[in-house]
């Protein structure tokens, strides 16, 4: 399990339920590495502000993380973490490697308007 304060998704079933039950979802799939940790930190920081978005992480090496690793939107990704944004269960955006606060905010504001 990742050592973050985010909700952890631990199986493909849990992933399916989470994206189906919540309208706006951001999931960061990574390891405890230098490119991933800053993204978890940003998500923890934004959780209180973006109450209409549900934030979670998923361990990249969890076999069930294939739901993210093999998503067509992540084809060509070669840098951790894979960060995926879902609206009503469908992927609306995916990014590879470290992202800044501004980059994450821009995506949340564009795709998850209140």
């Amino acid at each position: 399990m990742l050592q973050t304060n985010l909700k952890h998704i631990e199986s493909a079933d849990e992933h399916k339920k989470f994206i189906e039950e919540n309208e706006n979802v951001m999931i960061c799939c990574g390891r405890m590495g230098p490119m991933c940790v800053p993204v978890y930190g940003i998500m923890e920081e934004l959780e209180d502000e973006y109450t209409h978005v549900k934030f979670a992480d998923m361990e990249f090496d969890n076999p069930d993380a294939h739901v993210i690793r093999n998503a067509p939107e992540c084809a060509g990704f070669m840098g951790l973490p894979f960060t995926v944004y879902y609206k009503n269960g469908k992927i609306v955006k995916a990014t590879s490697s470290i992202q800044s606060m501004e980059e994450v905010r821009a995506i949340l504001d564009e795709h998850f308007k209140q």
Partner: protein, 317 residues
């Protein structure tokens, strides 16, 4: 009444967190404002094995311990924000955050650390995470049996190049000079590795590809000749720069943008101190940042206590 902190610390890496621990434990009202993830470069470190008293530990875990320690003593920590304004002159210093919130402090400790340099050439943003990486330990396994380039000539570049040979079929080190800055043992290890080859006196000029990185343009500096090389990945390790650009009009920096301090960590502005990787120094390590932060906090404490005393004597408070 508007709150005036005894000290505001800019930066929440090991220097800032240590300053926070000492200042708040010394009963100073203390605020840490951090632009990125609290922990600074420590959170970029898989394993810190040379911090005395702690056996090998993940950098994120060490940062969390320091953060908790500072909070226990009453230090307020705010992370992932943007510092948009500085007024460091006068008895009360003002820091503007996110273009709207104003924080005031009797003293300021600058601990903004450093950031990895990027190449700033066409295609770098586009292919970040699609072939361009800044961390071999994180992304090395995506390049199994592939051809990669490592850019740089310091210890990180050479050590990461060697570690990438566990995955990649071929590793080419591209370096701008005809010699390396890395320690001799790191150079020797790279030279002895049959999977590593070297392109010296050369710089990358452009990244190209489709949905993935496919090729780079390389300039041979002595002649200016440009060649194209097909490649699957590029790992960039071209050093760090101090995060002092926004401070250049407020305090004295040297020609490399490092903050000039005296042995008490005082800058040229009264009541303003600096600590960690951002100050002039030869070595940059967690232990050194922690020591700097300690000195800066103790100096700030002495300054704040003496100004408070003077104010009291003058009957101002």
């Amino acid at each position: 009444m508007e709150e005036i902190f005894d000290t505001i610390i800019l930066g929440g890496g090991p220097a800032g967190l240590s300053a926070g621990i000492y200042a708040s434990r010394g009963r100073m009202s203390t605020l840490i404002l951090n632009e990125g993830t609290v922990g600074g470069q420590m959170v970029l470190t898989h394993e810190i094995a040379n911090y005395p008293g702690v056996e090998a530990i993940n950098g994120f875990a060490l940062a969390n311990i320091m953060k908790k320690q500072a909070r226990t003593f009453g230090c307020t920590i705010k992370g992932n924000l943007r510092i948009t304004g500085y007024d460091l002159q006068g008895d009360v210093k003002t820091i503007e955050v996110n273009g709207k919130d104003i924080y005031k402090g009797r003293s300021v400790i600058l601990a903004p650390g450093g950031t990895p340099r990027t190449l700033d050439i066409p295609g770098e943003d586009k292919f970040k995470g699609r072939g361009i990486s800044y961390c071999a330990t994180c992304d090395g396994d995506f390049f199994t049996d592939k051809k990669v380039i490592v850019v740089g000539g310091g210890n990180s570049a050479l050590e990461e190049a060697v570690s990438l040979t566990k995955y990649a079929s071929e590793v080419t080190i591209v370096h701008q000079f005809d010699h390396f800055q890395a320690f001799e043992h790191a150079v020797n290890e790279a030279k002895a590795n049959p999977k590593i080859r070297f392109i010296m006196e050369s710089e990358l000029r452009e990244f190209s590809g489709d949905e993935k990185l496919r090729a780079v343009k390389i300039e041979y500096l002595p002649t200016g000749e440009i060649t194209e090389m097909e490649v699957d990945g590029v790992f960039i390790f071209v050093g760090y720069k101090p995060n002092t650009e926004p401070l250049k009009d407020h305090i004295a920096l040297n020609e490399w943008g490092e903050i000039v301090v005296d042995p008490q960590m005082r800058t040229n502005v009264e009541g303003v101190y600096a600590a960690g990787d951002c100050v002039v120094k030869r070595y940059r390590q967690v232990t050194i940042a922690v020591a700097d932060g300690t000195i800066a906090a103790l100096s700030a404490m002495e300054y704040v206590n003496s100004t408070k005393q003077l104010e009291q004597e003058a009957g101002q408070v």
